[in-house]
Amino acid sequence: MAKKVAFMQGNEAAAHGALYAGCNFFGGYPITPSTEVSEVLSIELPKVGGKFIQMEDEIGAMAACLGASLTGAKALTSTSGPGLSLKQELIGYGCIAEIPCVVFNVMRGGPSTGMPTGPSQSDVMCAKWGTHGDHATIALMPASVQECYDMVAEAFSLAEKYRMPVHVLPDEIIAHMRERIEFREPGEIEITPRKAPTVPPEQYKPYDTSFGDVPPLANFGSGYRYHVTGLNKMQDGFPTTKAEIVQAEEERQVRKVDACIDDIVTFEEYMLDDAEVVVVAYGSTSRSARYAVNAAREQGINAGMFRIKTFWPFPDKQIKALAAKVKGFIIPEMNLGMCSIELERCAQGKIPVLGIFRVDGEPINPEQIVEKIKEVK
């Protein structure tokens, strides 16, 4: 049978990717340029018996998703910059209480109201560090409409697998452009279900590390009674201030992702075999970068591209290996040098990191990148 194909926007594709993954709860608050996600899901979710709710603000939307997820729902929220700022306290709640959900944040200009319809990539640090306290972060970076679909579906699996909120961070260009996409067949993208408890209710502890760094999560209303809090907690879910428990639990919540970094991190290598200059790019900027690499090669420069698909955890290992091998990194990004900080950290001064930073609401064009490539000696 021929695959179902469609011509649609990144935001619409994200909604369909969510449905593919079994999303059955959406809590949101309208904000440009992400609103189409909620519009599509307001139509589609009730058709499959799912629930759509427009909350009174983004904080409420995040809260509703976390509450729904505790009952076993696969919950999605979508937003953009100002909304991401508002969600932060409860993203932290999701991290410490270890509640799966997906946050689809379309990056627009900022800070504050900034440029509501202008593209940007300036939320990458907000996704990582926006909520206070130490915590793990997973953030995926789609660079096409198809990847909006695929990555949202994958984000649901990552959320369940690591029991935490997972970000998908398209820039406004990716979210609003239209491309041909394929709807995935069942089984084509792995859908990880929630790890359910294997012990009877009397023995269940929501943070029981004898089951590993990601303990099973029982659904509210499934016969298991337990306590959830945003305070530092013990394995049974109740608050504690005992130094050794707090330290161990905090470390576990970061380690559960760090230790699996090789399973989580995805990237694309383009013409890297003989590359001397590597453009590190993500999101829509990588599309210009690909074009620029081709153009540079036509001019006899051995350029290549490393495309970041998983922004958090950052692909340290791969970037460090490249830094030991090539003459320089070019980093084009629609912010004033956020990924650049990570590249500098990985390059450790061994090679130059040349940035092209645009925050004027215009995309970075290939010519700009080619010019920068030529600067690497």
């Binding site: 009730p46 809260a63 509450g67 009952t71 076993g72």
Partner: protein, 272 residues
């Protein structure tokens, strides 16, 4: 026979964190008796709270309990109820949690008329953080941040709830402990968003500053100001001055609740 509270409490989680003389424990006992009256299935019951002394209540009760972030109980609970409408969902918290930082979620839960019961413990103060004034602190009263007397007017929680669309609103006091379970039980049975405000006391951070010499004096004040709605009908405006009405203040059984309405949305979507 004495009522067996322990059946509903989590083993090993007492003593509670509340100060001697704090009214929150009286409210918890009332809630437990209400749960017992209704024979609520604890596996299928969620208690959701925010942050504050009052919001510590769920941890002691042996059901699905969710101690969320400051002010966010109603929004978390809305997610729980929407996703699993068959669950009994009860919210609780303090006046600060519910009417200041959580005020927006509170009024929207009322407006949606989502079938949950909200027990709001009004001790007129932010207890947990040491007695700063809340939106319910009466004008002129002292708090750690109103050293010259509170310039703000206070909220009437019940009026706020009625105005926002709640379909069951009741008020009790920590002094009238035997009424609390009846009000809560009636609220839980009501289909729609129900609010039970319990006038409460915080001897530690409010009583002390406002010249109450003892918990007994604070309780006596609750006794003196409370007037049951029935009795109030026969009183003059002059007699009612400075009094607070208690009992079931408002009830509307004609409005449909939110998850019922959303079930109709699902039906319409699937009929297409």
């Amino acid at each position: 026979m004495a009522f067996d509270y322990e059946k509903y409490l989590r083993p090993g989680k007492l003593p509670h964190i509340w100060c001697p003389g704090c009214g929150h424990g009286i409210v918890m006992k009332g809630l437990i008796r209400a749960m017992d009256t209704l024979k609520l299935d604890m596996k299928n019951t969620a208690i959701v709270s925010g942050i504050g002394c009052a919001s510590r209540l769920p941890g002691y009760i042996d059901c699905c309990t969710l101690h969320t972030a400051h002010g966010r109980a109603a929004a978390f609970a809305t997610g729980v109820k929407m996703a699993k409408p068959e669950m009994n969902v009860i919210l609780c918290g303090g006046d600060g949690d519910g009417t200041a930082i959580g005020g927006n979620h509170f009024i929207h839960a009322c407006r949606r008329n989502i079938d949950m019961t909200y027990i709001i413990m009004n001790n007129y103060i932010y207890g947990m953080t040491g007695g700063q004034f809340s939106p319910c602190t009466p004008t002129g009263h002292k708090a750690s941040t109103t050293p010259y007397g509170n310039p703000d007017p206070g909220f009437d929680i019940a009026k706020l709830a009625i105005g926002a669309g709640a379909t069951f609103v009741a008020r009790g006091t920590a002094f009238h402990a035997n009424q609390i379970d009846k009000l809560i039980a009636e609220a839980i049975q009501h289909k729609g968003f129900s609010v039970v405000e319990i006038l409460d006391d915080c001897p530690t951070t409010y009583g002390r500053r406002n010249k109450y010499k003892s918990v007994i004096e604070m309780m006596n004040r609750l006794k003196e100001v409370a007037v049951p709605v029935k009795a109030a009908e026969k009183m003059t405006a002059e007699q009612l001055k400075g009094k607070v009405l208690t009992g079931v203040l408002y009830k509307d059984d004609t409005k449909s609740d939110y998850t019922t309405e959303y079930a109709k949305v699902i039906e319409r979507a699937q009929a297409k």
